[in-house]
């Protein structure tokens, strides 16, 4: 497989990504041909992929800023919880945009605690993160008992309805309005033709440009912005040196503590924004205790999956978002059943790839998993809902098991740094 696909590696980045996406859609199209479903490439599937991917993306980008500055942030989950509470509170009281700002600040406060503990006092990053996760739950519960119980429709675990910032449908591409004139729906037209693969690509693309929340647009814009900020500016270079060789940065006169603080604060703020988006009408429209369901951790997984790079985080977020979004709409479990075959194909790909690199062990293991998945696919018609819920976590474990040697985290990530000790 790697031999035949080398031409892709030589393409410019945008074309390479488009090629990977096209291959992905092609596999999905083929697979759903075997099963009696069109869910895998439906407009609603890619739409929910984007919606469910955004909190993961924001959390992952948050983790990126923190870990590039050398601070491991397990506390993303807790900061996200703070974001959900403050996001709901701000949106209910002051309007949707202020809700986002409140979520940003709430998460940022969590980040501040993490920064004070890890950067200032040198507490172990994992320990501080775990404490923040547990503490955030308590803070949110306490605040709800103090505030939401006083609102109509609110309780100790719930808020009233939360307003959203609004949505945007691209004109021409997906039939959005321009000043009252309803434009044609080009992708929709292709999607309705029922042409093999072409209509599937059109449908998937249409989902990405239909009823997109403004938060989604912001989150997507943050991906190239983060790349630019971290790899093309002086600020980014300094932040990254704190994660690679803080002593070297110190020798160059970089205020390592300051940059670590900034990294962790941005991290918390982005996780908070993710939380504020979770309570917006696009996903739930209400604050509900326990609604983050570990998506901060999934964001962390997307970060690792993406090899600590913004585009990689986006890739991971969309993958996990796709699985989550599909599972939620797929109550019968038929579309997720087709996904099993996709998993098997991916495992086969890994096996071939490992074999071509001479790694018999990995090839054998992947091959075995592939066979097991295929057997499961062939002997069943649907998959249970719990499988859909854990699929992202399983994917992360499998990816880490096969590729953790190829991943490269920032060299000084998670290590204690004291000024003047080197």
């Amino acid at each position: 497989m790697s031999a035949r696909l080398t031409w892709i590696a030589e393409l410019p980045a945008w074309a390479r990504w488009a090629a990977y996406a096209a291959i992905g859609v092609f596999v999905l199209t083929l697979v759903q041909g075997f099963d009696d479903t069109d869910r895998l490439t439906a407009v609603s599937s890619s739409q929910s992929m984007l919606r469910w991917g955004v909190p993961i993306l924001l959390a992952g980008l948050g983790g990126l800023f923190s870990e590039r500055a050398g601070v491991v942030n397990i506390g993303l989950e807790g900061m996200m919880i703070l974001g959900t509470w403050f996001g709901a509170w701000g949106a209910i009281n002051y309007g949707a945009w202020w809700g986002l700002a409140a979520g940003l600040i709430g998460g940022g406060l969590g980040g501040l605690v993490h920064a004070v503990a890890t950067v200032q006092f040198g507490v172990d990053h994992i320990i501080s993160g775990v404490v923040i996760n547990v503490g955030a739950l308590g803070v949110a519960r306490f605040l709800s008992s103090e505030v939401f119980t006083g609102y109509a429709g609110g309780s100790i675990t719930q808020s009233p309805r939360v307003p959203g910032v609004g949505q945007f449908t691209f004109p021409v591409l997906a039939g959005g309005d321009i000043g009252g004139w309803s434009s044609p729906d080009v992708l929709g037209w292709f999607g309705d033709r029922g042409w093999f693969f072409v209509s599937d690509v059109a449908n998937v693309s249409k989902g990405l440009v239909t009823e997109v929340s403004f938060v989604t647009l912001i989150a997507l814009a943050l991906v190239p912005f983060s790349t630019w900020l971290l790899w093309r500016t002086r600020f980014g270079l300094r932040l990254r040196i704190c994660g690679e060789r803080p002593e070297a940065g110190e020798a160059q006169g970089v205020n390592v503590y300051l940059y670590k603080y900034i990294g962790v604060l941005i991290s918390g703020a982005l996780a908070g924004l993710a939380g504020a988006f979770i309570v917006s009408p696009e996903l739930s429209g209400i604050y509900n205790e326990g609604q983050t369901t570990g998506r901060g951790f999934i964001g962390l997984a997307a970060l690792i999956f993406g090899n600590w790079r913004p585009l990689g985080v986006l890739r991971g977020a969309l993958l996990f978002g796709y699985v989550f979004g599909l599972g939620l709409r797929d109550l019968g479990g038929t579309a997720s059943h087709s996904l099993l075959l996709v998993n098997a194909i991916a495992l086969l790909g890994i096996a071939v790839w490992a074999y071509s690199r001479g790694n018999r062990n990995n090839a054998g293991l992947a091959g075995m998993l592939c066979v097991l998945t295929t057997i499961w696919y062939l002997t069943s018609d649907t998959v249970p809902d719990w499988w859909v819920n854990i699929l992202p976590y399983v994917v992360v474990l499998v990816v880490l098991a096969f590729f953790s040697q190829r991943l490269r985290m920032p060299a000084a990530d998670g290590q204690r740094y004291r000024k003047g000790e080197s």
Binding site: V123, I126, S128, G135, R141, S145, L397, F402
Partner: protein
């Protein structure tokens, strides 16, 4: 450094953390319009009752086991965040296996405990093997394994194994696995306690798992401090390279530490299982994370973890009374627990630096006494 100073430094950190937590929570309570003194008074007078003390020990028992489970990993520089998933899975499987058989009490109870420890150990071992053979960080893998165990495997198995028509628990019917026969339930300790005190009322029952927790604590102390294996484990945790030179295979130590940690974690759910006899659809959760807090506050020391578990159990149990007296929202104790643990780890870090500075001063002062 004198012994007195060392003891004071050792105690200063947790005491400072507790004081800081009390002050912070008082401020929070004042801001929210409650009277902190009335709240604390209610909590203490409630906890002084015999029945509340039984509750407190029942709560501290699983907390202590969770703390020891996490501490075994810590001693090896491993962060077993997966205690949560390990104990829930072990709880469920042990409940099911226990309900399938009917044996003499000793065998039945032993079987249930062994199943629980094996399942917990095996599930934790997955993370250990992934770390050794694949280089997967155990923090990430145990987080993923937690999610897989809780939202996946448990959700699936409880559906497969739940008793039809529900389980009768007192006056209500709950969803859960088929109840275990009485022969599989560890008897309570009320009889022992009542020898020294008055009769325990309100249907409270001190769990027999308390004895197991004490045994685990003693075992942990002996194993870590008095056995060759425990020494190897600690040595590998402190310096894996030096340990390897000394003939200790680090990979095997990692897997062993994870398995032992998971085996102890498997016992956490036994407190509830031995009381009710079944695995409910909504078992008591977050004990794994509370265990991390107990291990941190107790500094991985068997006695320290016990004190920490008692403190957290006190906060959990005595906060219940706040709902009735209305002195303060009971959620304040969750904040208190968070603040305690964060303040404690910061305080320990500061103490470590003070001690290092002391040692450096001591070392630089010492050579002056030696004639050149």
């Amino acid at each position: 450094m004198s012994t007195g100073r060392r003891v004071i430094l050792g105690l200063a950190a947790p005491v400072a953390a507790l004081v800081f937590a009390v002050v912070t929570s008082s401020i929070v309570l004042l801001i929210s319009g409650s009277d902190p003194l009335a709240a604390y008074g209610d909590m203490f007078s409630h906890a002084a009752k015999l029945e509340t003390l039984v509750d407190l020990l029942n709560r501290a028992t699983p907390l202590y086991l969770a703390g020891v489970a996490v501490a075994i990993g810590f001693r090896m520089n491993l962060f077993n965040i997966g205690v949560e998933g390990q104990y829930l899975l072990a709880f469920l499987v042990a409940a099911h296996v226990g309900s399938l058989v009917s044996l003499p009490a000793v065998l039945h109870i032993s079987l249930i405990l062994i199943v629980a420890m094996s399942v917990g150990g095996a599930y934790a071992g997955v993370a250990g093997v992934l770390k050794v053979t694949r280089g997967v960080n155990e923090v990430i893998s145990t987080i993923m394994l937690n999610a897989i165990a809780i939202t996946g495997i448990s959700a699936w198995l409880i559906k497969e194994w739940q008793a039809e028509g529900g389980v009768r628990a007192g006056t209500t019917t709950r969803t859960g696995t088929t109840p275990i026969d009485d022969s599989g339930l560890l008897p309570g300790l009320n009889g022992v306690v009542e020898v020294f005190t008055r009769e325990i009322g309100q249907g409270k029952e001190l769990t027999g798992v308390f004895v197991i927790a004490v045994v685990v604590g003693v075992w942990y102390h002996v194993f870590i401090n008095r056995t060759v294996l425990g020494f190897d484990l600690r040595a590998t945790g402190i310096n894996p390279f030096a340990a390897r030179v000394g003939g200790v295979p680090p990979g095997r130590m990692i897997v062993l530490a994870m398995v032992l940690s998971g085996a102890v974690a498997g016992l956490i759910g036994m407190t509830e299982l031995m009381q009710t006899g079944f695995y409910p659809a909504n078992p008591i959760q977050s004990l794994g994370f509370a265990g991390i807090a107990a291990a941190l506050l107790g500094r991985n020391n068997p006695f320290g973890i016990a004190v920490a578990a008692l403190i957290f159990a006190f906060l959990d149990v005595s906060s219940g009374v706040l709902q009735f007296t209305g002195a303060a929202p009971r959620e304040i104790v969750v904040i208190m627990q968070g603040v305690i643990i964060l303040a404690a780890v910061i305080a320990y870090e500061i103490m470590r630096r003070v001690r290092e500075r002391d040692e450096a001063r001591h070392a630089s002062a010492a050579p002056a006494e030696v004639p050149a």
